[in-house]
């Protein structure tokens, strides 16, 4: 059966199944289990209303549990076993990993990514959000800077392969070097700094996200605070850094953490640009070198990523609980 037809059938079955499930389960609840008639009408309605939320929640909770909660435990357990999955080796996989220099490089690179990408994307996004507000063509500028958000990491990597190409007739960087009389070089093979060239691709993609959110936050700042500062003689920089930035600090942190989480997931850029060569591995790309070969190692790397994400996760949950109160 061709996948297209399979897809159409899946859509019909999936959508029909969902609607059918919700409709039928509600009907059964209201008419069969707790009918709103007879001697116990009031009690039955109350009971039905106590059960109903769980009917609504069940499919989502089931999918979330199976596809996200279970893997956290499942991966951890798997990472304690060896390659075949039969022999328990405790923390053996982790110990082996930490003795590998590539893994240590990947951890170091990943920490660099986590520090640099969110900082740069948020900073440039903030600058663009502030500057474009005062321009007549600000909206067009924002649209264009936002555009890379729609491009896949693979597509973006190809775009930047052209920029970085080690050929003066192909890559714009080497063309500029050539016109200055410098020798052609491959930016992706310059040890250590090549990591930053890769990071910039993600900054290029994520700046638009930071810009959109920070721009909305900047607009939400009460005018009076800014006017008061200007009357008191503050210049543009002081207004920006001392009045505006502190007021949107909460949003800046949200943007920062959102990008941080993303950074810890992205393996596509390293995979397409260098394949992890020249000392550019990060944990997600390093994990893929073990995927399909050694599940024990692969899950161990994944769990190290999880540990890196954990602080952000806890902080997020705390924020969410604070908002609900």
């Amino acid at each position: 059966m061709p996948p297209v037809i399979q897809g159409i059938i899946t859509i019909i079955v999936g959508v029909g199944g969902c609607v059918g499930y919700f409709y039928a389960s509600n009907w059964v609840l209201d008419k069969v289990i707790f009918p709103a008639k007879g001697p116990n009408t009031g009690r039955n309605i109350n009971r039905a209303n106590q059960v109903r939320p769980w009917l609504f929640l069940f499919p989502a909770m089931f999918a979330l549990g199976l596809y996200l909660a279970y893997p956290v435990v499942g991966s951890f357990v798997r990472s304690l076993f060896d390659r075949s999955g039969d022999n328990f080796i405790g923390l053996g996989n982790y110990i082996d990993l930490f003795s590998e220099s590539t893994f240590r490089t990947a951890v170091r690179n990943n920490l660099l990514w986590v520090l640099v990408v969110p900082a740069m994307a948020t900073f440039i996004g903030l600058v663009v959000a502030q500057l474009s507000d005062r321009l007549s063509w600000g909206n067009i500028a924002k649209s264009l800077i936002f555009m890379p958000m729609a491009i896949s990491f693979v597509g973006a990597s190809l775009i930047w392969r052209f920029v970085y190409a080690p050929d003066a007739d192909l890559g714009i960087i080497n063309s500029i070097r050539d016109s200055m009389g410098l020798a052609v070089l491959d930016p992706l093979q310059v040890r250590f700094w090549n990591n930053f060239f890769l990071m910039f691709i993600l900054v290029w993609i994520q700046t638009g996200f930071a810009m959109v959110i920070l721009s909305a936050a900047l607009r939400g700042i009460p005018e009076e605070t800014i006017e008061a500062a200007i009357i008191d003689g503050a210049n543009a920089f002081q207004v920006f850094f001392k009045i505006k930035v502190p007021q949107i600090m909460g949003t800046i942190v949200v943007v920062w953490t959102t990008i941080t989480i993303l950074v810890l997931k992205v393996f596509d850029i390293v995979y397409t640009m260098t394949g992890g060569n020249f000392g550019t591995h990060i944990l997600p790309s390093y994990m893929m070198t073990y995927m399909f070969r050694d599940d024990g190692r692969a899950t161990a790397v994944a769990f190290v990523i999880m540990i890196l994400v954990l602080p952000v996760m806890i902080w997020n949950i705390r924020q969410a609980r604070k908002e609900m109160r």
């Binding site: 999936g14 939320p53 989502a60 909770m61 996200l68 264009l144 729609a150 052209f162 909305a216 994400v309």
Partner: protein, 383 residues
């Protein structure tokens, strides 16, 4: 006051220039890819894409033919015109052009100006005039006509050949359809499931609601990498294996936290009066949800749909793990990253075109639905 006004104007210019530089930095790489996709292999290798709108000197190679050889006073002569050589005819359809420089070998390609006479490496001399006519002389007969290397001014030219290759010959058409097949069900199904859950979390009272919301927020950041091995094993053990069904389920699971979170944030903000009014009028939760909440939540549903579509369309990781690796079920990102980059690593025109084909659909979605996308981003992050 004049001073202040002047300063403001200076600032304004500075702001304009800064923004212009940033916008160019953000735009130029994509334009480079786009322009390159319309150039053939030789053009890409010979001059940067930024030169493509201009007439430039390009390098060519023509071969004289020993059939044209004539004997004049004991000297063997071949005469002809390089621009009529069939191998360069594609770039000089009129058979006319202007020689910038020429040489007898690829290395000395620009060693001689038009009209000069060059020594051939195997003996004899070569003269090429500016209009392309050449004369080769030697005191021995030629076994085969020597090659002539030259630079000529070439007008800008663009071609759709790359698109023809990519779309019809390279299996990219299949990959395109596969990508659509993955993305559409993986977008629609989580929306439905999430909408019901979001309604329950927003408007129904039950014990443990706060805890569940916190759990959703927590799951929002669980790295995908954790899920790969356990789920693939699970899929294999229940017989789904690596298949389209598997990737739909996986994308549904991975997209749910964001969907529930976004939709709940939006639904909580809907006016309480409407919902309570409907309840007083005797509407059940199911009716309220279908008749009131769903239509009112359209903007949030649309923005999540855009996110999920972009995410599933652009995804490489999930497709690599949950789909079989054969070309029958490759999606475009996998095709580009694993197939084209490997086998066509040097063919930049094909790479650029393939990338652009894969980017085109998200870009269309992006520019037509930008409003909803922005709204969704704001609902998801700023609360």
């Amino acid at each position: 006051m004049d001073n202040i006004a002047g300063q403001n104007q200076g600032n304004r210019v500075l702001v304009n220039i800064t923004m212009l530089v940033l916008v160019l930095l953000w735009l130029l790489p994509s334009i480079g890819l786009f322009v390159s996709s319309f150039r053939d292999r030789d053009q890409i290798a010979n001059s940067g894409w930024w030169m493509s709108p201009f007439t430039v000197d390009l390098n060519f190679r023509a071969r004289s033919s020993s059939d044209d050889m004539v004997e004049q006073n004991g000297i063997f002569v071949i005469e002809g015109n390089v621009f009529t050589d069939p191998s360069v005819a594609g770039r000089f359809p009129d058979g006319e052009g202007t020689i910038g420089a020429f040489g007898p070998t690829a290395r000395d390609l620009d060693a001689f100006a038009p009209g000069e006479t060059a020594e051939m490496p195997r003996g004899g001399t070569l003269t090429v005039e500016a209009d392309g006519s050449y004369r080769i002389e030697h005191d021995e007969p030629f076994a085969r006509g020597p090659a002539i290397f030259f630079q000529a001014l070439t007008p800008p030219a663009f071609t759709l050949d790359n698109y023809r290759t990519v779309l019809f010959a390279d299996g990219m058409d299949r990959a395109f359809i596969n990508t659509l097949t993955v993305a559409i069900p993986a977008t629609i199904i989580p929306i439905l499931i999430a909408a019901f859950a979001a309604y329950a979390l927003a408007w129904m009272d039950f014990p443990g609601r706060g805890l569940l919301i916190a759990a959703v927020v927590g799951l929002l950041v669980v790295p995908l990498q954790l899920a790969l091995v356990p789920l693939l094993n699970l899929h294999t053990s229940i017989g789904i294996g690596q298949s389209f069904l598997g990737i739909w389920l996986a994308h549904t699971g991975f997209g749910l936290p964001l969907a529930v979170y976004l939709l709940r944030n939006y639904m909580v903000g809907l006016p309480r009066d409407i919902i309570e009014g409907a309840k007083v009028d005797g509407a059940t939760d199911f009716q309220i949800f279908v008749r009131i909440i769903l239509p009112l939540s359209f903007p949030a549903l649309a923005s999540f749909a855009i996110f999920q579509f972009l995410w599933t369309w652009n995804d490489l990781l999930v497709a690599k793990v949950f789909l079989p690796s054969g070309s029958a079920s490759q999606v475009m990102t996998v095709k580009i990253a694993d197939d084209l980059l490997g086998s066509r690593g040097g063919d930049w025109g094909i790479l650029a075109t393939a990338a652009f084909v894969s980017i085109a659909v998200p870009l269309v979605v992006f520019f037509t639905m930008q409003r909803y996308l922005v709204r969704g981003l704001l609902a998801g992050s700023v609360k």
